[in-house]
């Protein structure tokens, strides 16, 4: 009862007097942007970190170091894009970490053992990644195993597959791909990987905010009963997002293998990639509960993480406190997120 009373007020207050709302000062406009655009606060953090590290070590913004940051940002951002779609639809995928490591191996197996031409070999690897995503979706949605558990299972199963088939040894990039294809997807130096990441982020940001697929993704994550009542095929949406997340992880893995110029069973550091991607998504303003999230925010989240890691290196702090900062950043951003969404709910924007 008391709840309904609380909700009535702001809604009615918003009704009759539109005049004060029109007269917005720059300050209120700024505050509104902050409250409504979750990306804004992460952007400020990313810029502040740049200023701070540049002030302490002036090579931070040198071209060479910016390239380092870009290369650390790109794979996380690509994987985080898929993670955001899944989180918004109310699911999660931990196995992206192993799809990331597996995809380059599949490409290598297809090209070197089955003599598939270069580009079809890459596409085949991505098709298998899609299959993994579909399987995750099938187990989580059709068999109703919570996706956290289901994809934990696939994570280890895929790890076993990678280690067994590769005998835990790294492999070389297939000969046919070492030239132009590598330059296009993941050159050792250059911005190709970041450009891919930006492209993917832009496309899926639009998908999430401007298309039916995105609207339905928000709907099934926000109110699955209501969405299903409205006739939205929630299973298809969720499984589709599992597929997207896996394919993106596979692609990021292939690009990363090209860049480091070796196909390593430990590419992405196992659990490191999904954890970084989830962190990036969460810092960027995506709620784990489903129903809200932003791809652009996740990109900025990945950038913040890369900046932190890189900056700490430059300042000469060992890698260990990085995790302290990372943990703190996740907690602070989640608490802020909770607080801000409560503000947004009560209509004080």
């Amino acid at each position: 009862m008391s709840e309904t009373v609380q909700v009535i007020e702001p809604a009615e207050r918003a009704g009759p007097p539109p005049e004060p709302a029109r007269r917005r000062t720059i300050l209120t406009l700024l505050r509104d942007t902050f409250l409504q655009r979750r990306e804004a606060s992460v952007l400020i953090v990313a810029l502040a970190l740049m200023v701070y590290f540049e002030y302490n070590r002036s090579i931070f913004l040198s071209q060479g170091n910016l390239l380092n940051i870009a290369q650390a940002t790109a794979p996380t951002a690509i994987v985080a894009t898929g993670i955001v779609l899944l989180l918004v639809s109310g699911e999660i995928d931990l196995s992206v970490g192993m799809t990331f490591a597996l995809a380059p191996f599949l490409m290598h197996y297809f090209a070197d053992f089955y003599h598939v031409p270069s580009i079809p070999a890459i596409l085949l690897a991505l098709v298998v990644a899609a299959g993994i995503g579909w399987f995750n979706g099938f187990v989580s949605i059709i068999l109703r195993v919570p996706s956290f558990v289901a994809t934990l299972g696939t994570f280890y199963a895929l790890q076993g597959f990678v280690l067994t088939t590769s005998h835990a040894y790294p492999a070389e990039i297939p000969k046919g791909m070492d030239g132009a294809i590598r330059q296009w997807i993941g050159p050792p130096s250059g911005w190709a990987e970041l450009i891919w990441a930006v492209l993917i982020v832009v496309v899926f940001h639009l998908v999430l905010t401007r298309t039916r697929w995105g609207l339905h993704t928000v709907s099934v994550g926000g109110n699955i009963i209501g969405a299903t009542e409205a006739g939205i095929r929630s299973r298809r949406i969720k499984i589709g997002n599992f597929v997207i997340a896996s394919v993106l992880a596979g692609f990021a893995g292939i690009a990363e293998a090209f860049r480091v110029h070796t196909i390593d069973p430990n590419l992405g550091g196992g659990a490191q990639i999904p954890f970084l991607a989830i962190s990036a998504a969460v810092i960027g303003g995506t709620a784990l509960a489903g129903g809200s999230g932003t791809v652009a925010g996740a990109f900025l989240g990945a950038l913040v993480l890369a900046e932190l890691q890189n900056g700490f290196n430059l300042i000469g702090i060992s890698a260990n406190p990085y995790f302290l900062i990372l943990g703190g950043a996740i907690l602070v951003s989640m608490i802020a997120n909770q607080y801000l969404s409560r503000l947004r709910r009560t209509g004080r924007t």
């Binding site: 009862m1 309904t4 009373v5 909700v7 009535i8 702001p10 809604a11 009615e12 918003a14 009704g15 539109p18 639009l206 401007r210 298309t211 039916r212 609207l215 339905h216 928000v218 709907s219 994550g221 926000g222 109110n223 009963i225 209501g226 969405a227 299903t228 009542e229 409205a230 006739g231 939205i232 129903g291 809200s292 947004r344 709910r345 009560t346 209509g347």
Partner: protein
Amino acid sequence: MTAEASPARTCTGNGTDVLRVEHIVKRFGALTALRDVNMHLRKGEVLGLIGDNGAGKSTLIKLICGYHRPDSGRIFVDGEEVTLRSVDHARSIGIDTVYQDLALVNELTVYHNMFLNRERVRWPFLHNRLMRKLAKEHLDDMGVNIPDVSVEVAKLSGGQRQAIAVARSVYSDAKILLLDEPLAAMGAKEGALILDLVRDLKARGEVSIIIIAHNYAQVLQVCDRVNVLQHGEITFDKATAETSTEELTDLVVAEYRTARAKRSAGG
């Protein structure tokens, strides 16, 4: 009590019935939720369906909206027998349900909710401008006062949310509207908003409405006719003008007393 069930049965074969269910039985394992339900709804009518918890109201509604299928019995829409395969199928022939507080997605704007799964698209993107405009027009047309259709539904009151859900069903050409506990957890002012909306719809005469209610005092104001569901059967069917809150209360209380008498006799 059983004598009062007869009007429901004699009403079969009425040509103006937009919906008619005959001898509906539904069991869940050992539990018989609906014993033998006969009910009809005339065109443009507002029917109140009342009954205590566990009487089978929600089971009946889920049968009519295509969610469950009856074990036996027949359903007619506009005089033609139908087998409702799914909620989608029921909706495609004009039967739409508004569940209290479950229908809308809080994270989406009013106009996105209005067009949920019926979005207007300018490929590949949503045609937001058009949907905003149409939603505003339609809500204004129905007398639902929402200050800004671009606001997230989470910011609205319970009554406004319910009104939007009803407006959405009407917009999607529903001819039979099932309102499940439309006034539950709502203040008097909020409830009045919904009742006014139902009155407006009734005045237009385009949709026929079944209101499922636990607390019938308020609902009675807008209903043409009242059915009472008890133990999986319609035990009472009268025009609102011929009955009163007192009579209905007596009916429900009598049921409670009988049950208690049985219990104490048994123990």
